[in-house]
């Protein structure tokens, strides 16, 4: 399995002096958590706004491709913030996170969400021809929203179970 193959790398990442330094201070990790959720709200907020538009619940007079382009920088800043802070949080407790079931579930969901977001969702909502495919927009919007919130909820579960 991929997890076994990755394990030695994760172990050495966690035991680098940087990893140990990160994990040493609760305060440092707490600040990273704050930036992690800030990034999440930016990303999920924009996906939510896109979906409200796709389902005709808001911003009806704004063409979707233009709205999508307006929201894109916010989504990307949010995503970068989340991934970067997440990577640092992981480095500070690599071994513990890596062996957890919820963490692994979250990573699988994250990979799916990222792939779907950039290959399908972002392409569909930015497409000028989307008026021809309102069903496609609804399906990909709904799926993106569901996937991203699942990542968040699995993340929340790491702390619980």
């Amino acid at each position: 399995m991929i997890w076994e193959w990755l394990h030695p790398w994760v172990t050495s990442l966690g035991s680098t002096s940087f990893g140990l330094w990160l994990g040493q201070s609760v305060e440092r990790i707490a600040w990273l958590f704050v930036f992690h959720i800030l990034g999440i709200t930016l990303l999920l907020g924009t996906v939510l706004v896109s979906n409200l538009r796709i389902f005709g619940l808001a911003l009806k007079r704004e063409p979707l491709p233009e709205l999508a382009r307006d929201l894109d920088p916010i989504a990307l800043v949010g995503l970068c913030l989340t991934l970067l802070s997440g990577a640092l949080i992981f480095t500070g407790g690599a071994e513990n996170y890596f062996t957890g079931w919820w963490f692994r579930t979250k990573m699988i969901l994250l990979a799916s969400a990222l792939l779907f977001h950039f290959v399908v969702f972002r392409t569909v909502i930015r497409s000028e021809r989307i008026k021809l495919h309102p069903v496609l927009a609804k399906l990909s919007g709904g799926a993106a929203l569901l996937l991203w919130f699942s990542v968040g909820i699995a993340g929340r579960a790491i702390a619980f179970f």
Binding site: A30, L48, L57, L59
Partner: protein, 162 residues
């Protein structure tokens, strides 16, 4: 205040929240969803006032607000359930007190917005710049909601609550 905390602690709601094992995580999940709705929507509206996404007129963005308010209601409800579950964990917790204070100040900030530059802002069309007072309010709003998330996230670290 002690009788109040004791009354909350011994209420049926409190027993339900801590007694049924899935309720707390379910509320945390809803609290997370509500946060994304509230701060996501407010963030988009604030960023427009600060000059991002200038191509969008303000009025249709402002119509997103009910979704943000829905998020706030979800979080107020689930937050109240956490508090009911274990009031002693929160009542003297500095992170909790600061979180509530930041929410109250954010509320005052919203009032100032609607009593002040709101009408001018509502009329903003594509490419229009918000008045300085609205920009200050938007920046304050982002700071305050970031603060709410900060104190919320600090609950387990500063005051040992969860």
């Amino acid at each position: 205040m002690e009788p109040v905390w004791a009354w909350i602690k011994h209420s049926a709601v409190s027993k339900l929240v801590v007694g049924v094992p899935w309720i707390w995580p379910a509320c945390e999940t809803l609290h997370f969803i509500g946060m994304a709705m509230l701060i996501g929507i407010i963030g988009v509206i604030d960023l427009r006032m600060l000059g991002f996404m200038k191509r969008l007129p303000f009025a249709p963005l402002h119509k997103l607000l009910p979704w943000g308010i829905a998020g706030f209601v979800i979080n107020l409800t689930t937050g109240a359930l956490f508090f009911a579950g274990d009031p002693y964990q929160y009542k003297d917790n500095i992170a909790f007190i600061m979180k509530v204070a930041f929410i109250l100040v954010a509320g005052i900030n919203v009032l100032i917005f609607y009593l002040g530059p709101y009408k001018q802002v509502e009329a903003m069309g594509p490419g229009d710049d918000a008045p300085t007072s609205a920009k200050v309010i938007a920046a304050t709003s982002i700071f305050l909601w970031f603060g709410v998330m900060y104190w919320g996230r600090m609950l387990p670290f500063i005051g040992n609550a969860f």
